[in-house]
């Protein structure tokens, strides 16, 4: 069953424009807080009314501004999981589920399936985060919805429960025969849970791709930042036609990659730098390029790096550095390189000494547009 959404809404000085369609798959709406993703979900559910547009589910029209069709939320057959679960505080777990259940046996079955028997007579105020969420899920499923809408389902949970609950939701999504839309600001969550990802920015759905394509080629600066890319620079074309990363002070060579023609920016993920040991670095002198970078024989830019700061994380080490002789001093001029703890042991001495050499594999460069 296909969910098709094409809506516009003006809301408190904010202009929402969302257009996408979801078949029996998991679609994530990824975006920063306040970008309109929850509002989109609410419009689909019928809790908010768009000003223009159309929403259809299968061959049913749920909303059509022109034909003045607006099916009330209770008749849309849509399951909505709220960020704070919205359990009725005056009812026990059992009452919460049975209050909306039309099939009593199915309700009992869900009580067991979500391991809620022991807490069935407790009130929401007495439940843990995981129990609350399972109750909300059971209550949502008992109405046999045709679409699942999940609004930041993990943000209310402590870290250590998150994984377990995530597995429960994954199980649920795997067996659910219909479209599901998940809203999140966490790119990792979107990657783990969704098949396709759509990016929302300031009220507009700016693009959508399947998740691997999205992470390899985010396409825009905003999307790249959302995927956690830490190194992004403005791009300039030099007189001889090669590309120059302005904020990094790095020449990227000529023949560079997908999207390079109309790109305004370039991104590079912190994990992809290659370390060049001191001995090899010395042998790379004498090739030409601008100050602070050389190009190796394969055309991969070489960076002379000056250490700014080292931050130890739980399983990795974050190294912040600048390139030698870079005249630019914007925030983007501070580059980030991340190694895991074992990798760190190999490079530690050289890096902590203050100067070291890195290489940029050109196939890992991401060319971006700034919309």
């Amino acid at each position: 069953m296909r969910l098709e959404v094409d809506i516009e809404k003006y809301y408190r000085g904010f202009h929402l424009r969302s257009a996408f369609s979801v078949d029996t798959e998991r679609f994530a709406l990824l975006g920063a807080s306040g970008c309109g993703k929850t509002l989109t979900l609410k419009c689909i559910a019928g809790i908010e009314k768009p000003d223009r547009g159309r929403i259809t589910l299968g061959d049913r029209v749920l909303f059509d501004a022109e034909q003045r069709i607006n099916v009330p939320a209770r008749d849309r057959g849509i399951g909505y999981l709220f960020q704070n679960y919205a359990l009725f505080p005056n009812m026990t777990v059992r009452q919460n589920i049975f209050a909306v259940a039309k099939e009593k046996e199915y309700a009992e079955e869900l009580l067991d399936r979500f391991f809620l028997r022991e807490v069935a007579d407790q009130y929401p105020a007495e439940l843990s985060g995981g129990q609350s969420q399972r109750t909300a899920l059971a209550r949502m499923l008992v109405t046999r919805p045709k679409v699942l809408l999940l609004d930041e389902p993990f943000s209310a949970l402590d870290n250590y429960i998150r994984t377990r609950v995530e597995h429960e939701i994954l199980d649920l999504l795997d067996t659910f025969d219909g479209p599901s839309v998940l809203v999140t600001h966490d790119r990792n969550e979107a990657y783990r849970l969704a098949d396709r990802i759509g990016v929302m920015e300031a009220g507009r759905l700016v693009e959508q791709q399947d998740r691997q394509a999205f992470f390899d080629h985010p396409g825009t600066v905003a999307a790249a930042r959302l995927t956690g890319c830490k190194n992004i620079s403005r791009l300039k074309r030099t007189s001889d036609g090669s590309l120059y990363a302005v904020d990094w002070g790095v020449t990227l060579g000529r023949d560079t990659g997908e999207g390079a023609e109309d790109a305004t920016h370039v991104g590079f993920r912190a994990h992809y730098f290659t370390y060049i040991p001191a001995e090899d670095a010395a042998g790379m002198e004498g090739m030409e390029a601008s100050e602070g970078t050389k190009t190796s024989e394969e055309g991969a830019p070489i960076l002379r790096c000056r250490l700014q700061r080292v931050i130890e994380d739980t399983f990795s080490v974050v190294i912040c550095f600048r390139t030698e002789g870079n005249p630019v001093d914007t925030p983007d001029a501070l580059l980030t390189w991340i190694v895991n703890k074992t990798g760190w042991d190999a490079v530690k001495d050289r890096v902590l000494a203050g100067t070291f050499t890195l290489q940029l594999p050109p196939e890992k460069l991401m060319f971006l547009k700034d919309n």
Partner: protein, 223 residues
Amino acid sequence: MDFSPLWISLKIALTATVITFFLGLVAAWGVTYLRRAKHIVDGVLSVPLVLPPTVVGFLLLIAFGRNSGFGQFLESIGVNIIFTWQGAVIAAVVISFPVMYRGARGAIEQVDENLIFAARTLGMKEFTILRRVILPSAWPGIAAAAVLSFARALGEFGATIMIAGNLPGKTQTMSVAVYTAMQGGNRELALKWVLVIVTFSLTILILMNYWTGKSFRKRRKAS
């Protein structure tokens, strides 16, 4: 001591509160879901709160008195409310209605919006949502509003004395009795009634604090 003012006051205040409770609740729910002209309707419904009670009494006299169309209609079917305890009830309802309405509306609006949204997506009809989701959550606030409006009705003086007069044994409420006693120079009697009124009002306010405190604690635990 003739205790009839106490029974008269209670009879009037309780009757008025029962009426005000339902009227105020319906008005609160209606205005919360009103889309247009919300502020105007709210203003009209709240106006008895800010008008001097004697003004309210005067307006009621005009509306129900012999010289108005409505008053003449009432007379024709044998109903007279001037100088009766029923008239005092009407005055008390008008005066205490805004208290109930505003309190109930505040309690209803405090209910987490997401609860109502969730109930809708889960298939509940609007009236079921009011009955099973909104009212149970808003109940402590609504009860407090009812108690406060009872206290207001009990203490009503200005409008009551204009519509219902001061007929001992029939329409002389406690507040009117204090006034009458003072007018007649009977300080001791006035003081006795003052003590009764103060005790009553204090008890009512303490009850109200207890009720709203309970709801605060329940909400805090849930968050």
